[in-house]
């Protein structure tokens, strides 16, 4: 028999966890696929939602911050593009964080009946938001074309900033997902964080208006680095990247992710008993 021996011992972490995770990679794929399918089956205009939401938000933000509050844009970029370039990573983060945070609770029946590495659930729930992100990217391309705005070579740095955003959403999502299993209070925390985050991240305005003395505190929000990175990559030449800001963002994201992973792994085995 080509068998392998599995030893379950009380209180010991399993040796095969990461190998199991790899073995269940197809489940990751199927769960993402399910979320996508269900999303587009249940909603009648399906894919249009991924376009309508960012576009309407962009219009409103452009009106409020650009026209009414007359905030400065960055360089010569049209205000709508400034807003949309920030809207992309922000909405991705907000959606992915919300989905990942609630993912364990909404898959409770699976958790209490079948074994698989639980990490797959929050990780796969991010994929739907990622697809929305790519659809919104197409919309951005159309808007840029409309304004005749051509990005330069920096656009190739975009995947790096997207990666930071993904890890940020995953890290925060892991924390909330695991905490949510035990303390349902976190259902109320997530919408608040997302709403609050929108105002402390440079979505509707440019980071340049933030006073210097607040800059460090402000940059502790990892999405600041991501959003400024997106603007730097998309808006073009006359913008400089604040490297300390990006490094700070990466550090905060990694700390969140690693502690999130640790906490998730620690509590993972009790999920089925508590959920």
């Amino acid at each position: 028999m080509k068998s392998e021996t599995l030893i379950i011992e009380a209180g010991k972490t399993e040796r095969h966890y990461w190998r199991d995770l790899w073995r269940y990679r197809e489940l990751f794929y199927f769960l993402s696929w399910r979320d996508l399918l269900v999303r587009y089956k249940q909603t009648s205009i399906g894919i249009a939602w991924s376009i309508i939401r960012p576009v309407l938000t962009m219009v409103v933000f452009t009106m409020i911050f650009g026209r009414l509050a007359k905030m400065p844009t960055e360089g010569n970029a049209p205000y709508p593009i400034l807003v949309f370039a920030a809207m992309l990573p922000w909405q991705f983060f907000a959606n992915a964080f919300t989905e990942a945070g609630g993912s364990l609770v909404s898959n409770a029946s699976m958790i209490s009946k079948v074994y698989f590495p639980r990490l797959i659930i929050p990780a796969s729930s991010i994929i739907v938001s990622l697809v929305d992100f790519f659809i919104a990217c197409v919309v951005l391309a159309i808007i840029m074309f409309w304004y005749g705005y051509i990005p330069n070579i920096r656009i190739f740095a975009l995947p790096l900033f997207l990666l930071i955003a993904i890890l940020a959403a995953l890290g925060a999502g892991l924390w909330v997902a695991a905490l949510n299993v035990k303390y349902r209070d976190f259902r109320y925390v997530v919408p608040f964080v997302v709403q609050f985050g929108l105002y402390v991240s440079p979505v509707g305005f440019s980071s340049s208006i933030v006073p210097e003395k607040w800059r460090f505190l402000y940059s502790l929000n990892p999405m600041v680095g991501v959003i400024d990175g997106f603007r730097w990559a998309i808006l073009g030449a006359d913008l400089s990247l604040n490297v300390t800001e990006v490094v700070l963002s990466i550090v905060v994201v990694l700390v969140t992710l690693l502690t999130g992973l640790f906490y998730f792994r620690k509590t993972e085995k009790t999920f089925a008993d508590v959920i």
Binding site: S3, A10, Y29, V38, K182
Partner: protein, 433 residues
């Protein structure tokens, strides 16, 4: 044969919350507990264990120092009463939950089927759900694709493959779900009571499928309350009782013991009415009160056909009372009595608690589950009856389709008639003894 599953001193503890409102912890409670724990810290140092002595929580050992070895190719049934730890054992073996103490050693790939249709999504079509459910149960995409036609044929849902499963009848739903699970090819298959669903024909098909899996030399663990299924599918059985292995041996032997119950259980089942599930309770007077009820078969709460059933009551009497009579009724659905009567009149001379016992011999009820109605009052016929207290649907018992020596209830005297086919029909006459 090599050992494929080895459990050594496995225990699983659950904490049962007694606090009001139940459900999930809230952060507030958790923080309050933390503070309390800090205040309790000195106590811990000086040796008084505050752990597990929390007033709001009670420990419950679902598995209690359980050791077991299962050999390759063995088909093992797991039986036991509700709460004996069967499901917890399966959950530990399928890695859904972690044991509190002990060690489990498993050789080979385990697939567990604790619930039919885990992860089915109502919005997705049958086809999509086959893939999704297969992946959840641990099949690879290639495996599922290879077995797809077989699964569909087994489930008999060809025509509805592209219909969302929310439009399926519950029978179709269950068939599809079982079909996916039945085509797993694990080394060790763990099946919980999942066959209680679906129609009789499909249940048979499922049992047949599990039988095939067992015949292929795979190890099967099977939990059921259906003794017929257990005895058909398994060659060995584990009898669990309160988280411990009471008996591990050949299926026949274990079933007999399980159905037969344990001497110790027999008179210990009388319990306070408050703790028993009942349908309705009327109190007309507090002169006499029914405090405790026990429905005691000669074999636990199970009674063999033609066997003996004992009803035991603990009555609390306020003061001397005459002309009392106990009424009882037996009904198959909690509504319509099919059997019943009143005891002859008796009296209690003084205040106190009294135990009354009714023994019914030669219980010739059809094998099924029955519930019991009880009353205490005056009058020994329906017209003059006046109840002090009556309880409907209190306690239940099973009548098993065996006689005491485990022979079936009925026997046939039969013989086949034979003739050359000329179109004439030959009657086969059977006589029922």
């Amino acid at each position: 044969m090599p050992v494929v599953i080895k459990l050594e001193n496995v225990s699983k503890r659950y904490l049962i919350d007694h606090k009001q409102g139940g459900g999930y912890d809230t952060l507030r409670d958790s923080m309050a507990n933390k503070v309390r724990n800090i205040l309790d810290f000195p106590k811990k140092i000086f040796g008084t264990r505050s752990n597990g002595e929390d007033k709001n929580r009670e420990e419950f050992w679902a598995l209690d120092d359980l050791s077991l070895e299962i050999q390759q190719g063995d088909r093992v049934g797991i039986v036991g009463r509700n709460g004996a730890g069967k499901s917890t054992l399966l959950k530990v073996l399928s890695r859904i939950t972690e044991p509190t103490f002990g060690r489990v050693c498993i050789n080979g790939r385990v697939s567990s089927l604790l619930e039919v249709g885990t992860g089915f999504h109502p919005e997705l079509t049958g086809r999509e759900n086959i893939y999704l459910n297969g992946a959840i149960l641990g099949m690879s995409k290639a495996d599922i694709a290879r077995k797809f036609d077989e699964i569909v044929a087994f489930a008999e849902v060809e025509r509805f493959l592209d219909t969302p499963v929310k439009r399926y009848s519950s029978g179709m739903y269950v068939r599809l779900a079982f079909a996916v699970a039945a085509h797993l090819e694990p080394d060790i298959l763990i099946v919980d009571e999942v066959l209680a669903v679906g129609d009789a024909l499909f249940q048979k098909k499922c049992l047949g499928k599990i039988e095939d899996i067992g015949a292929e030399g795979r190890t099967v663990l099977f939990v059921s309350h259906n003794m017929a299924a257990i005895s058909r599918l398994t060659n060995n059985c584990v009898l669990l009782n309160r988280g411990k292995v009471e008996l591990f041996g050949a299926t026949d032997q274990v079933i007999q013991r399980y159905i037969g119950g344990d001497e110790r259980n027999i008179l210990s089942t009388r319990r306070p009415v408050e703790d028993i599930f009942y349908i309705k309770r009327w109190k007309f007077s507090d002169v006499v009160e029914i405090k405790e009820v026990g429905v005691i078969g000669e074999r636990g709460v199970d009674v063999m056909f033609d066997g003996e059933l004992t009803l035991e009551l603990l009555l609390s009497v306020k003061h001397a009372v005459d002309d009392l009579s106990i009424g009882f009724g037996i009904s198959p659905d909690g509504e319509f009595k099919i059997m019943g009567g009143f005891s002859s009149a008796f009296s209690f001379g003084e205040r106190g608690e009294y135990v009354c016992r009714l023994v019914i011999r030669g219980l010739n009820l059809a094998p099924a589950c029955y519930s019991l109605d009880l009353s205490i009052g005056t009058g020994t016929d329906v017209a003059s009856r006046k109840d002090y207290e009556a309880i409907q649907g209190v306690g239940s018992f099973h009548v098993l389709p065996y006689k005491k020596d485990f022979t079936p209830i009925g026997e046939w005297v039969h013989g086949w008639g034979m003739t050359i086919n000329t179109g004439a029909i030959v009657n086969v006459v059977q006589e029922c003894k």
